[in-house]
C-alpha cells in the first residue's frame, strides 16, 4: 500500500510486464482512517504558564515533605568514622604506615581509642573506608575472571587473559587471579568496648551476611562444589602475589572460605567512586543493649594494607542504617530545595499567567 506510488520499473531495471488495467480495478483512493489521515485523537500539550503551574505546585507540595522526611531520617542515622591511616606523627598507626610491605611477616598492630557520644541501637554496621583508591579504573575493573570465581575448573587453572599480569605466577595459575583480588584489603579490625567498670569487652563482629545474597550463592562458587576439600581443589594454583595466605585459608568456616569468603566477595564488587566504604562486619548479636552503648572503645588494627603510596586514606566506619541506606543529608536537602524552587517558580508562573493570560484572553474575547 505504502509503495503503490512507487513505480516498479524505476527500481531495478525491470519493465513491469503486467498488462494494461492490471490493477486498475482497485481504486487508489486512500483509506479514510484517522491514522492515515493523521487525525488521531491527540492530547496536544501546549505548555503555557497556565497549564504548567499546577504541576509546579504539585511537585513542590510533594517534594518538600519528602525532603523533610529524608532529612529527618538521615539525621537519625548515627555514624562514626575514624581515620586510622597514620599520616600524622601523632597517630597510633604512624609507625605501621611507615614501614609497609605486602609481605612483611611480622604483623604491625596499632590501637586506636575513640569515644562514641551516642548509643547505637539495632544493627550496627562496621565498614572500612578507602579514599583515593580508584577501584573503578578501567584496567583494574577488568582484571578479574568471573568464571574462575564461579568455580570453573578450567578457568581456575587457565585464568583469563584479562587477569594479566596477575594471571600466572611462577608458572602457576593464580587463584583468584587479577588485580582486584591481588589488592584485596587485608587489615584486620577488632573492636573493644571499654566498659566504664574497666573491663575491655571484645565486640563480636559477624563476618557473614555482609555480601550480596546473589554474589554469595550464585556468582561466587568454589571449584569442585560446596563440600570439596578446598586445599585439594586449589592444588596446583598459587595465591595472589600480595596475599599472605592462599584463598582456601581465608576463613576456618567452610561456608565462608575460598571464593565464597564474604570479605573477598565484598572486595570483588568494585566501588563506583574513588572514595568508598565497604562493609566489613555487622554487629548483630551483641549481648549489650543498646548494641553499642555510649562510651569508650578501642579499635585494634592489624595494619597490613598500604595506602600511603597513592596518598590514600583508611577509615573505620560504624553506622546504623535506615530504609534509605546510610547517612546522607544530601537527598533531603536536595528534595527540599527542588521542591521550594518549584513552588517559587509556580508562584512566578502564576503571576505571569495572570498578566499574559489575561491579555490573551482579552484578544480572544474581542474576536
Amino acid at each position: 500500500m505504502m509503495a503503490s506510488s512507487y513505480n516498479a520499473k524505476d527500481e531495478d531495471g525491470h519493465i513491469t510486464v503486467s498488462g494494461p488495467g492490471g490493477g486498475a480495478l482497485r481504486s487508489k483512493k486512500p483509506e479514510n482512517t484517522a491514522f492515515k489521515q493523521q487525525r488521531l485523537p491527540a492530547w496536544q500539550p501546549i505548555l503555557t504558564a497556565g497549564t504548567v503551574l499546577p504541576a509546579f505546585f504539585i511537585i513542590g507540595l510533594i517534594f518538600i515533605p519528602i525532603g523533610i522526611g529524608l532529612y529527618v531520617t538521615s539525621n537519625n542515622i548515627k555514624e562514626f568514622e575514624i581515620d586510622y591511616t597514620g599520616v600524622d606523627m601523632s597517630s597510633p598507626c604512624f609507625n605501621c604506615s611507615q614501614n609497609y610491605s605486602w609481605n612483611s611477616t611480622k604483623p604491625c598492630t596499632c590501637t586506636i581509642p575513640f569515644y562514641l557520644e551516642q548509643p547505637y541501637e539495632g544493627n550496627v554496621y562496621m565498614y572500612y573506608g578507602l579514599s583515593n583508591f580508584y577501584q573503578n579504573h578501567r584496567r583494574y575493573v577488568k582484571s578479574r575472571d568471573d568464571s574462575q570465581l564461579h568455580g570453573d575448573m578450567d578457568s581456575l587453572l587457565k585464568p583469563s587473559k584479562e587477569c594479566e599480569p596477575y594471571a600466572m605466577h611462577d608458572n602457576k595459575p593464580i587463584a583468584p587471579c587479577g588485580a582486584i583480588a591481588n589488592s584485596m584489603f587485608n587489615d584486620t579490625l577488632e573492636l573493644f568496648y571499654n566498659d566504664p567498670n574497666g573491663t575491655k569487652v571484645q565486640i563480636s563482629l559477624a563476618n557473614t551476611g555482609i555480601a550480596w545474597f546473589t554474589d554469595k550463592y550464585v556468582k561466587f562458587k568454589n571449584p569442585g562444589g560446596d563440600n570439596a576439600n578446598l586445599t585439594a581443589v586449589f592444588q596446583g594454583t598459587t595465591k595472589p602475589v600480595n596475599w599472605r595466605k592462599p584463598v582456601y585459608e581465608l576463613d576456618k568456616n567452610a561456608s565462608n572460605n575460598g571464593f565464597i569468603n564474604e570479605d573477598f566477595i565484598v572486595w570483588m564488587r568494585t566501588a563506583a567512586l574513588p572514595t568508598f566504604r565497604k562493609l566489613y562486619r555487622t554487629i548483630k548479636d551483641s549481648k549489650m543493649v543498646p548494641t553499642l552503648p555510649r562510651g569508650n572503645y578501642t579499635l585494634e588494627v592489624v595494619y597490613n594494607y598500604p595506602v600511603r603510596s597513592f596518598e590514600g586514606r583508611k577509615r573505620m566506619i560504624l553506622s546504623t542504617i535506615s530504609w534509605m541506606g546510610g547517612k546522607n543529608p544530601f537527598l533531603g536537602i536536595a528534595y527540599i530545595t527542588v521542591g521550594s524552587v518549584c513552588f517559587f517558580l509556580g508562584v512566578i508562573l502564576l503571576v505571569i499567567h495572570h498578566k499574559c493570560g489575561n491579555r490573551n484572553n482579552s484578544t480572544d474575547i474581542s474576536n
Binding site: 524505476d10 505548555l47 578501567r138 575493573v141 577488568k142 550464585v218 572514595t275 544530601f330 537527598l331 490573551n360
Partner: protein, 1366 residues
Amino acid sequence: MERLHWVQHRCRQLLAGDSERGWYSAPNGLPNKNFLDRHSSPQRVSGKRRTVFARHGPHQQEYEAASKKYKGNAIRTTKYSLLTFLPMNLFQQFHRAANLYFLFLALLNWVPVVEAFQKEITMIPLVVVLTVIAIKDALEDYRRYLFDKKVNNNVVRVFCSKQKTYVQKCWKDVQVGDFVRLSSNEIIPADLLLLYSSDPRGVCYIETSNLDGETNLKQRQVVSDLPFQGAELTLENFRSRIECENPNNDLSRFRGYMEHPNGVRVGLHNSNLLLRSCTIRNTETVVGIVVYAGHETKAMMNNSGPRYKRSQLEKRLNTDVLWCVVLLIVMCLTAAVGHGLWMKNLKDPIFQVDGETSPALAGFYVFWTMIIVLQVLIPISLYVSIEIVKLGQIYFIHNDLALYNEQLDSRIQCRALNITEDLGQIQYLFSDKTGTLTENKMVFRRCSIFGVEYPHEENARRLEVYEAEKTEAGGRSVTLKSGCSGKSLSCRSLSCNRSSVSLHTLTDEAEEEEEDQLTNHIQRKTSAFCSRVAREVVPDPMLVRKLNWLRSPVLTLSDGSSGTPSSLELTYITDFFLALAMCNSVVVSSPSQPRHQVPEARTPLKSLEEIKLMFQRFSFSPFSTLSPPQIRGSPHSFTSRLFARGKTGSFTFPTPPDNTTGRSEPGLEDQLETSKLDSLSRAEGKDAGGMEEREDGTTENTKMSPDERDYDDELLYEAESPDEAALVHAAQAYRCTLRGRSAESLLVDLPGIGSLVVQLLHILPFDSNRKRMSVVIRHPLSGQVVVYTKGADSVIMDLTETPKGADHAQEIYGHIREQTQKHLDSYARDGLRTLCIAKKVLEEEEYEVWLKRQLLAESSIENREELLLESAQRLETHLTLLGTTGILDRLQEEVPETIEALQRAGIKVWVLTGDKKETAINIAYACKLLRPNDQLLTASCGSKEACAALLQQLRLEVQHGEDSLTTGAGNHGKSSSDCGTGFVLVTDGCTLDWALQEDLKNDFVVLSCKCKAVICCRSTPLQKSQVVQLIRDQLGVMALAVGDGANDVSMIQVADVGIGISGQEGMQAVMSSDFAVSRFKHLRKLLLVHGRWCYSRLANMILYFIYKNVMYVNLLFWYQFFCGFSGSVMTNSWVLIFFNLLFTSVPPLIYGVLDRDTPADTLMELPELYQDTQSSKVYIPSMFWFTVLDAFYQSLVCFFVPYFAYAGSDVGDLSFGSPINASALLIILLHQVIESHTLTWIHVLVLVFSSSFYFGFVLLFSVICVTCSPPTNPLGVETLQMSQPLFYIVCALTTVTALLPRLLFRALHNTLHSSAALKSAQMDKEDSERYRRRMQCWNLKHSPANRVPVCVDNPDLEPNSASVMS
C-alpha cells in the same frame, strides 16, 4: 511485497555512498532527458557503428564476425551471485561513511591498550546494520533474480533457418540478427527493426506505457522500400546489411541505414524501431530483425532508480554532526590530558595494573578508548533514523485524502523519498502555466479567418454552462442551423456519413424536413456521445453561413453586418479548416473499430478524377456556370446532386469547401469572380436567417428521431497535445473531418464530397525551437504540393509575407495581417491560447529541390536532427497567413486560492510559460497572481544594450515605487506584502535571453527580487531551467518547479523540488519529478501542511536525537572525572550499546513521523505560519547549541544527583550506574513528551513500551547473567537496586530536576513570546475574515462574471489599498 520493494530501495540508496549523491542523479529513463544536452552538445559522438546481418541469412561469416561482441537478449539485473554476495555486499556497504566509522570503532576496540568494552560489544552496531541491510539486499536481489528468470523465459517466435519457420524460443535465446515475429498484444523482446507488418500500409502501433507511462499508441513504420514488403517474407534470403549506431539510451533517436545487396541504401530512423518492453497493439503480425538485444536495448539502457536529492536540512545537519565530532574530540582530549595528569600524580598505586606506561602514552591510549566509549555522540544512527522517518512521512503524504483526485483515481506520487522536509522551506515557486495552472483541456473557443473574427458566441455560452447542464449543451447545439442533406446524400454502406453532412440552410419544403431531423439527431448524438467539452464545438453561425454562401450561389446577402464573403475569403475558410484537420499528428480511431485501425480507404462518392474535373470547372466558373440536370435519389452522384441544387436554387448548395485549396495563385481570379457571386447570393441571406429560427421549433419534436445510425462509428482522436485535438474537433464541427491517418496518407471527409485520400508527403513535427509544425501534402483535388503550417503567432507572423503581385492583393493581405494581429491580441487578452495557421503552395520543381535535401537529411546518420531542422526551416517560408485560432484553456479549480495562499505563505510565485505575454498576463490576473493594483513592469527589448538599460530603468522605477510605498505604508501601519500592492515583472523570451547572460543576470536577479511575482512568457524549456537555476544559485533559496509537460522537464530537474502534474501531456514531467500530483491546488496542502509538518518534524527529531546522544554520552564523560579518566563506564556494556540501539530508538521515530506542531486546518487557513519553517526557525544553529546546552545540564543533573546521593557509600560501580541509567531513560522519554506537540495513543504506547523494555531487559539480564559480560557483570545489581527505595527517590529527584528548566522554558516561551506565529495568526484571522467578507460581497455582486473561467476584467478588489498606492 511492494512495501518491501520500496524499503529495499531506500536501503540501497543509503548504502550508495555519499559520493554518488549529486543534486539529482542523472535523470535517465526519459525520452527527453537529453533536452539540455540537445541544446548544449548536439554533436554526440557515436564513434563506431553497429553492423547487423541476419543471423541465419546468407551472410553467415559476416554475422559470426560482427555479432560476436553483441550481447544476447538475456538480462541479468541482479547485483550479486551466490558466491559473490558476501564480499560484494560487504564491499558495497563499506562504501558508506557510517559503516566505516562503525568498523573503525570495532577495530579500535581490538587494540588491547585502548579496548573499552568486550570486543564483541562494539561489533554489535556494525553487525546489526550490516546484517539487516545484507538481508534486505539479498531478498531484493533474489526477487530480481526471479524476475529476470521470468522475463528471460518469456516465449517468442523466432525464425529458424533450418526449419524455415518460426519456432518458439525464450527471450534469453534471442540474438542480434534474429527475425522475430510478434502478434498483437505481445511484448517486444528486444529492439527490433520493423521489416514487415500485416497492415497493408506497413504500419504497426505500439504502446509505450511500460517505457514512459504514455498510453497513447505510437505509430511505427516498416523500413521503406523493402523488396518483400507486402509479399510473403522470404527471410532466408534476407541479404541486406544494417548499419546503425551503437547502443545508446536515447529513446527518441535511432539512426542508421540498410544496405541492400544491390547497393541501395535506405535510411532508418526512430519510426522503424520497435523498442523492447513496448507492446504491439492493433496490428496482427509484425516481423522484425533484432538490432539491439538484452542490456543493449534502449529500454534497458534507460533504467535508473528514483532520484536522490539531498535536502537542505540534511546539509545543515552535517554541520552539526561536524560540531558533534568536534565535541567528541574535545571530550576525548580532556580525558586524555586528565588521565595523563592523574597518572603523573600517582606513585605506585596498588590499583594500577600496568604502572610502566608513561603518563603521556597512557593519555594517548585513553584518547582512543574514549572515542570508543563516547562513540554514540556521533549520531550515525541519526541518518538511518532520518531515512525511516522520511519513509513514514512519505507514507502519510501518500495516503492523504486531500491529495487524492477522485476523477483520475490518482494519489500523489512520491518519487523522491528523501526531500520531504524541503517542501517546508520553499521560497520560490516556478510554475508552468498550461496544464499546471490551467486544466490543459483545450477547447476551441473562437477563430479569425481572413481577418474576420468569428466570436462563436454559442460556443462560449455553451462552455459557460457546460458544467452546470450538460443536456442543455445538447439542446443548444440544435439551435445551430447546420442542416444536413445526409439522408439522401449519405451512403450508409460506405459509412461515410459525416462527410455527407453538408452545411446548408433549410427550406420549408417538406422533403427536406427529414434531413433536418437527421441533423438534429446527429447533433444530439454528437453532444451526447462526447462527454468531454473539448469535443463539442458549436460552429459560429456566421461562419456557417459563409460556408453556406459558398454553396448557394443564388443567396443574396441581407445581413449587412457581416459583410459579403468574397470567394477569396471562402478559399481561406476552406483552407483554414483543411489545415486544422490535417496539420497535426492526431491518431484516429473509433469505438466500433479496433483502436487505431485506420478505416479502409473508402472510395469517395465520386472518383477522384471526376471530382477533380469538376473542380477545375468549378474554379474557373464557380457557381454561376453550373447548369446541372437534377438526378435525385442518387446519392452517389455528387455532381448531379450539386447541380440539382444549383438549379432549384432554394436548396443548400453543397460546395466542396476546398474548391480552391489547390490554388493560391488563382486566388485573385477567384476574387474577381466572387464579386459576381456576391451579388448573386445576396438574395437568400435573409431567407437563410429566417429558416434558422424556424428550425428551432421543429427540432424540438424531431430530435429523437431514431433512424440514421450512420454515426455509430464515432471518431476518437488521440492527440499528442490537447491543442491539436481541440483543433481537429473544431474542424470536425465544420464538417471537415479527419477520418484516418497512415504514414503516407490522410483520410479526410470534406463537406459534401466525402472521404478523400490525401497523400501525405511529409510531417515536420512540432519542436520547441521552431514553435510550429507543418504538413506537406499533395492536394487530392488540385494535385499541388501544399504546405500547411500551424504554430505560435510570433513565429508564423514573421514567416508569412505579402505575396508579390497586385497592389490590391497586397492591400488585402496587409489588411488581413493587421486584423489578424488585432484579433490575436484580443484573444490573448482574453487568456486564449493562440495559434496561427498558414499555408504555402509549392511549385513542383521547388518541391523536388527541397525533397532531395530532406531525404538526404533523413537518411544521414550524423547531424540528422540539425539537418532536418534546417530543412524544415527552408520549407516554412513565404507562408500565407490564413487565420488564427483561440483556444480556451480553463483555470484549474482553486488555483487562485492556492496561489493566494502560497503568496501569503511568503512563497514567490513565478510563472514561466511559452504563451504570449497577453495570455500570460491575463491568466496571471485570473489566478490572482496579479492584483488590480499591482504595478506591471514589462520587459521587452530587442538587444542586449536595451535590455541592460531597461533593467536599470525598471530597478529605478521599483526603487521609486518602494519609496512611495514605504511612505504610504507608514501611516497605514501594515506590511506591504499584505497590502496587495507590489510589482510584477513580465518579461518575454528574448529579453530573458539577454537577462540570463552573465553580465546582466545580477541586475535581473536584483530586479526580480523586488517584484512580488515574475511572469516569463515565450520562454523555451531551456530558459525555464536557466531561470530556476539562476534564482536558486544566486539567491541560495529553495526553489520548487511545477509543470506538466515535456517542456517543463528540465526546469523540474533543476529545481530543489520538482513537482509534476500528471495531466494531459504524457508522463515525462511526472517521470522526472520528485512528487507528482494531479492538480495544482494540491500544492497548497502539500506545501503548507505536509511541507511544514515534515520540516518541523524532522528538525525537531534531529534536535531531539542530538540532545539524546549528547545527554547520554555526557553521563559517561562525567564519570571519567571519578575514575581517573581511565575510560571506564558505570553501566553494563550491553545496556550501554542497546540504550541507543533499542531502548530509545523508536520514540524519536514516532515523534518524527506523527508529531503535528499545528493542526492541518490552521495551517491551511493561515499560510503565514509557513514562514516559520521557510526561514528554518526550528532548526537554526542557536537551537542546536541550546539543545546541546540543555543536554549538558540534564546530564549534569542526571549524573551528580546520584553521585551526591551515593557519595562515600559502599555503592558498587554498576549499582551506581543503575539509577543513572534509569533516570536518563525517564528524562529522555519525558523530554520528548514535553517537546511533542501531540500525543496520541501511539506515542503513549511507544513510550511505555520503551521504558518497560528497558526495565524488563535490565531486570532479566541481572537475573540470568551469571558469568556473562565481564567485567560489567550485572548479576543481582538491578534487582537489588530496584528493591531499595533510595533508587526511586534518586530517580524521581533526578528526573524532575533535569526537566524543570525545559518545562519552564517551554511554558514561558509559549506564554510570553506566545509565538509570534500564534499572535500573527490571530491578527491574520481578523484580516482574512475581513477579506473573506469582502470576497463574498464581491462574489455576490459579480457572480455571473465569476462563472467565466477566465476573468478578463478584474474589478478592483481593494480600493482602499489602491489609494495607498497613489
